[in-house]
Amino acid sequence: MSKVLEIKDLKAKIGDKDILKGLNLDLEEGKVHAIMGPNGAGKSTLSKAIVGHYDVNVTDGEIIYKGKNIVDEEPEERALDGIFLSFQNPVEIPGVNNAYFLRTAVNARRKHLGLPELNAAEFLREMKALVTELGMKPELINRSLNEGFSGGEKKRNEILQMMMLEPDVIILDEIDSGLDIDALRAVSEGINKMKDGKRSFLVITHYSRILDYIKPDYIHVLKNGQIVHTGGSELVEQLEKEGYSSFEEK
């Protein structure tokens, strides 16, 4: 089975605090990986490290994506190459039109892939179809990016971006938090639609509910900056029953 993303002995700090402490994780092509772990364990930090967030200072180890170490790459290079992170807390950007922003992003990616850019009409038609699918209010695409969006609207907007950008590796940081039942179903369906046997997913969550929908191939337990256990979907039940204490740090 080929690996799209290999994280090798990753150590990272935020400020002068060690957060990731020699983390190892491989993402397989076409598979859904879930990460669960206690608050503050370093899950969001891991996802930020993968996309090159300025908060995270990688001090050691490698992140190999499609065969090359991307630790020193700019965030936009990683994105253009197909890495996507749905943020736990998407930022609001007043004054940047949501549709205009997304078309700029989509066309940057298309250009990078050698595809022709979409004009406004083509883009809007595609976007509109997805907006309906996700059960988003159509007016959201004419508003400023995430500004005044409810928590659930922000999450759906992240999924909309994911679907439009068609990335190869998708990291979802607590996409299910704050979603109502219908939103959770719509978002999960969106994610499932993206499964094509090649694309890989890294789903960070605290709840088993979303995993019922998107059926992970692997569950990883992240504790104190390391992956301490990896198993199949049966692990969810054990975690629900016993919590994280039975999983020891290495």
């Binding site: 996309v51 090159g52 967030h53 300025y54 700019e74 965030p75 936009e76 994105a79 253009l80 992170l85 943020f87 998407p90 930022v91 950007i93 007043p94 004054g95 940047v96 039109n97 549709a99 205009y100 922003f101 997304l102 078309r103 700029t104 992003a105 940057a108 990616r109 990078h112 406004a120 009409a121 809007l124 038609r125 509109k128 159509p138 007016e139 695409i141 004419n142 400023s144 971006q161 950008l165």
Partner: protein, 415 residues
């Protein structure tokens, strides 16, 4: 002619110096008292006034000439009326003008009036919308002229103020005296790109807003060189001013606003918002006072200045001030200066948008709030274009940035 030597003269000698008749005596005595500014003058503390007042200027003669009267635009070239336009309800004439603001704080306001034998007086007696275009072509001289706008009672007008031309090394001393009569309204939108090594403008104005009248003042200044906008506003009972200022300054430009808004009448309201984007070694100026006199009970006054510095050499002199002589009012002011938001920048980058493009997006977004106050969509788009031209050096027409009508037609959004 050197301007600073005028400070030696008393008011009657000032009148003589400019061959002015007694209609200018208010200007002469005020100037004799508050003087032509120099580097110690408080209101000019952030600006380089010295070179302008110490230079020996050749005066640009304002010729009275045949005035055209066609189109929807009033055109003024080097201070002379070129075209008075053919606008329904709007009359334009050259006239002696004496109703100046004796309380003005600016010496150059009085000097400008003293020097201008006649003013271009524009009277709006019907609802109207038109443009005033200022063209400058004379190099190395002092171009002084005055424009007066009278908006009659219960009349609603929009004026778009624009600028053209090259007048290398010249000093433009000008400004408006605007009277918005009772129950009338005026939307005044000024858009000015000042290229480097061109002229230096000092616009020094007064706006009088009568009871129940409304003045909406929007200024868009894109500056590569020095210039100053000075104004004083009087608000009568239940009068309102909404002032929004967008400044983009770069290179070595020192540019900005020095203003006073005076609440004279009760229940008057004012709001003044400045947004400044400063690059390279530019210095932005927002030195703005709102004064609430003891006659002005139940007023509301809000003032805010936000600046973004794009370069460590850039600087913002932001001094919003409230001076209040009563307790019965609602007032606030604030000022922030910072860099672009790192989180926002990262978010855009994480979607594959290159850092420079992401920065441009955020700058445009910052400006958006001010540009969006212009409700005339055609004008707003022109301002976007002019801003982008100044900021990017090019302008790429993309309706999605500013309007959503095409989306509406594609998407059929009609709620």
């Amino acid at each position: 002619m050197k301007l600073d030597i005028l400070n030696a003269l008393d008011s009657s000698s000032l009148l003589k110096e400019f061959n002015a008749n007694s209609s200018k005596s208010i200007a002469a005595s005020a100037l004799a008292k508050i003087k032509v500014p120099n580097k110690k003058t408080e209101k000019y503390r952030y600006f380089d006034i010295e070179p302008l007042v110490s230079k020996d200027w050749k005066l640009c003669e304002v010729k009275e000439q045949n005035v055209e009267a066609s189109g929807k635009k009033i055109v003024i070239e080097n201070g002379a009326l070129l075209n008075s336009g053919d606008i329904d309800g709007v009359s334009v004439e050259l006239a002696e003008f004496s109703d100046i603001d004796a309380e003005h704080f600016d010496g150059l306001y009085f000097l400008s009036h003293l020097m201008a034998a006649k003013a271009i007086v524009i009277r709006c007696s019907k609802d109207c919308s038109f443009e005033i275009e200022h063209i400058y072509t004379s190099n190395e001289c002092l171009i002084n002229y005055r424009v007066v706008i009278l908006v009659d009672a219960n009349t609603h007008c929009q004026v778009s103020d624009s600028f053209k031309g090259e007048a290398k090394g010249s000093f433009i001393l000008s400004g408006y005296d605007i009277f918005v009569s009772r129950d009338a309204s005026l939307k005044f939108v000024k858009t000015h790109t000042l290229n480097s090594a061109n002229y230096t403008p000092i616009f020094t104005s007064r706006y009088k807003v009568d009871s129940n009248a409304n003045l909406k003042l929007s200024s868009f200044d894109f500056a590569f060189d020095n210039g100053l906008n000075i104004f004083r506003v009087e608000l009568k009972e239940s009068a309102n001013i909404d002032a929004s200022h967008l400044l983009y300054a770069t290179e070595n430009s020192k540019y900005g606003i020095v203003s006073e808004i005076v609440h004279e009448g009760k229940s008057s309201t004012s709001s003044q918002i400045a947004k400044s984007i400063l690059d390279k070694k530019a210095r932005g100026i927002f030195d703005a006072l709102i004064r609430v006199q003891n006659s002005a009970k139940w007023t509301k006054a809000h003032q805010n200045s936000k600046s973004v510095l794009l370069n460590s050499g850039a600087y913002m002199a932001s001094k919003p001030q409230l001076e209040i002589y009563i307790d019965d009012l609602e007032a606030s002011h604030g000022s922030t200066t910072g860099q672009l938001d790192e989180k926002q920048l990262f978010y855009l980058q994480s979607r594959g948008i290159a850092k420079d493009d992401a920065k441009k997006m955020l700058i445009l977004a910052f400006a958006h709030e001010i540009i969006a106050t212009v409700d005339d969509e055609y004008l707003a788009n022109k301002i976007y274009a002019q801003f982008e031209q100044a900021y990017y050096g090019t302008y790429e027409l993309d309706c999605m940035k500013t309007c959503n009508s095409c989306e509406e037609s594609v998407l059929g959004i009609d709620q």
